[in-house]
């Protein structure tokens, strides 16, 4: 059964469909949440809340706006950002070094084309200069605005804007245009 059928059944209150979606995507959703919360206990709570929102709001899913997973990840990110702001829980800045055990978990390009796409984006992000990668991290995963980042890093706002734009442009060239030459 595909994701669209499952989410349609969840809308009708089908618990088995809900659990099937959970089994299919909870690790992907948890990965994003854990990256944002930087705390396993909080991440578990946010994961639970995200799937409760899926259960209660499956009727709000609009297929034209993206796949069920895209929607679920957007719900997860919003839930995590609300929690971060509510708790004023700001994880410490990453030093940019990824543990080698994490890198081993990245799927090989041969596994599926979808996984290979995300692997290549991950590698593109990792290849950004440290000063640019840190800004992507603070903006996307920690939910900070450009002004908040400028204040936190003690940088002029214009510098933050320029670096963030340069980082996204570089990802666009390195990842997106390789995908659709």
């Amino acid at each position: 059964m595909d994701d669209y059928e499952l989410i349609s059944k969840v809308r009708d209150g089908d618990q088995r469909a809900f659990l099937a979606l959970y089994d299919r995507y909870s690790s992907r959703v948890y990965t994003l949440i854990l990256r944002m919360m930087n705390d396993e206990m909080l991440a578990e709570e946010v994961l639970q809340e995200t799937f409760l929102r899926l259960w209660g709001r499956a009727g709000q899913y609009i297929p034209e706006r993206g796949s069920p997973l895209t929607w679920l990840l957007a719900v997860a990110r919003r839930t995590a950002l609300e929690r971060l702001r509510f708790e004023s829980h700001r994880p410490v800045l990453s030093d940019g070094n990824e543990p080698s055990s994490l890198l081993e978990n990245i799927p090989e390009p041969a596994s599926t084309s979808e996984e290979a796409r995300w692997r290549s984006l991950y590698l593109a992000v990792q290849s950004l200069p440290e000063e640019q990668r840190k800004l992507i991290d603070l903006a996307y995963y920690q939910g900070l605005s450009q002004s908040e980042i400028a204040e936190m890093l003690d940088l002029p706002l214009g510098t933050v804007k320029t670096r963030l734009r340069a980082a996204m442009l570089r990802l666009r060239h390195q990842w997106l245009e390789n995908e659709n030459p």
């Binding site: 618990q15 809900f18 659990l19 959970y22 089994d23 909870s26 690790s27 992907r28 959703v29 948890y30 990965t31 994003l32 990256r35 396993e40 578990e44 994961l47 639970q48 809340e49 799937f51 409760l52 259960w55 993206g66 997973l69 895209t70 990840l73 957007a74 997860a76 990110r77 950002l81 609300e82 929690r83 702001r85 509510f86 990824e98 890198l103 978990n105 990245i106 799927p107 796409r117 995300w118 692997r119 984006l121 991950y122 992000v125 992507i136 903006a139 996307y140 995963y141 605005s145 450009q146 002004s147 980042i149 804007k161 963030l164 734009r165 980082a167 996204m168 442009l169 990802l171 997106l176």
Partner: protein, 244 residues
Amino acid sequence: MTQESFDSFTENIPAYVLGALGWAEAAALKAHLETCQVCQAELAHYQKIGDGLARALPLQTSPRSVREKLLSSLEETKTPARPKTGWGFRRFATGVMALVLISTNLIAFLQIRDLRQQHMQLADQVEQQHTILGMLAANTEIHSISGDGFSGHLLLDREKNLAYLLTWNLPPPPQGQVYQIWLIDPNGEETAAALFRPEFDRPFTAAALLTSRTFVEFVGIKVTMEPSGGSQSPTGEPILTVDY
């Protein structure tokens, strides 16, 4: 619209996708996106990166305990707790207590979620009001406005390049329309600066003016009523004007 203001919208798209724009800049860009196909195409490109960042992380296995908690909360909400014939009073009372506890927890969960949403909205309002209060300093010019049944002020800080339009009792526009603020330069050319829509139950409205240039390059503002999403140049009659 000038090339400069168009460029400022385009340049803001990557930060918009990352959720890193301030509320006023994000609202202005969102309104602009409703009518600009060039920026819509640009957004579609960057949106793929935004969506991808959510997935492009080394996979971590979700904890088993969350599945079990979800499963039990689904069971609790789906299974009516009805006492069967032949149950003893103690078992019945335990069932009622459990039901009360579950209901209390569910209500508390919903209340906390609502409180979080209210907290976010209030934080936005406080940020806006702090900016306005911060502008009420010696360097801020205050230009009074009055019209048919409404009044207000334009706050302008040339040094900090900040401007806010505050209105009182300005009626909400008809469905499908918004108020649009235009900056006017010495040649009479108009540049879009903000969209706003007063609420029925809130007579006070504050709108931040946005420009990629400096406010000293302009000599005044005007407000017109435009279709939702705003227009590239004014189509409605001026509702108010301010020369500064």
